[in-house]
Symmetry: C2
Subunit: 156 residues, 2 copies
């Protein structure tokens, strides 16, 4: 089975692949930090892509997350993401002109940190992916820029 | 790196592996159905396991989900699960005597089906995993048995 067979939605095909690069994080309540990232987008036999991500720094592994990018037709998408920190994002948005832009509430387990909302903007070109992420927390309750990264396609 | 190096919590080590088998689903609003399943539990460098699951039937792929089983100490766990149907579970619970038992609210994207709550009970023995899953929906608002499956360990 080739990649094209597995992508039920042709619009989503350009996102499929393994992307690697580096990013920088900041937030009013923490010190700035740098990170390396691998982001993997996999086709499924449904109109949805599987997404998974891991980041690491000089001191070892940092963040991880897995999720599903759902195609809802006419440029509408929904991205559901689970994080080992106990958080889950359920974010509607759009995928137009190569840009996935979603925002939504964040729900946590009882022991999770208090993140209230996340907004993500992922700008895809054939071999490069730039993204920004904003979050709102109990302490910083308005959406505030948290992450910027540039990744390059390393496999198709 | 061996599996033991990657499992930060010795209590969680017996869950790590690939499990395969079959199950049966029912719910008041749908017809009964049978399914095959592969459930993969992977260690990470943190006190959390990555979980992923796929089921299929005679007519092709059925359900998929990915998530994180968090160890909170003293037999307490939290399981965060994202589903391509647009649903996310954030469920606290326990892991005692080989049994992971969690229950919690289900949060959905705007286009997701209305599942309100899920309860899962996964009973692990060295080479066998039996589980049951109950769910509550808008139409059936009390937790109602939905899935039973028996899986066998196929790799460590």
């Amino acid at each position: 089975m080739t990649k094209d067979d597995m992508v039920m939605v042709p619009e989503l095909a350009p996102l499929v692949g393994t992307w690697r690069g580096s990013g920088r994080g900041h937030f009013p309540t923490i010190e700035d930090f740098d990170y390396e990232e691998e982001f993997v987008v996999t086709a499924t036999r449904k109109p949805v892509l599987a997404t998974s991500q891991a980041t690491w720094g000089a001191r070892g592994p940092m963040h991880m997350e897995t999720g599903w990018l759902r195609w809802c037709g006419n440029g509408a998408v929904e991205w559901v993401i689970a994080q080992p920190t106990g958080l889950a994002e359920v974010s509607p948005g759009t995928f137009v002109d190569g840009v996935v832009a979603v925002a939504g509430p964040v729900h946590g387990t009882p022991n999770a940190v208090d993140v209230l909302q996340v907004r993500r903007e992922y700008r895809f070109s054939p071999d490069q992916l730039d993204y920004d992420l904003w979050m709102a927390t109990e302490v910083v309750p308005s959406l505030t820029h948290h992450l910027s990264a540039r990744l390059m396609r390393v496999s198709g």
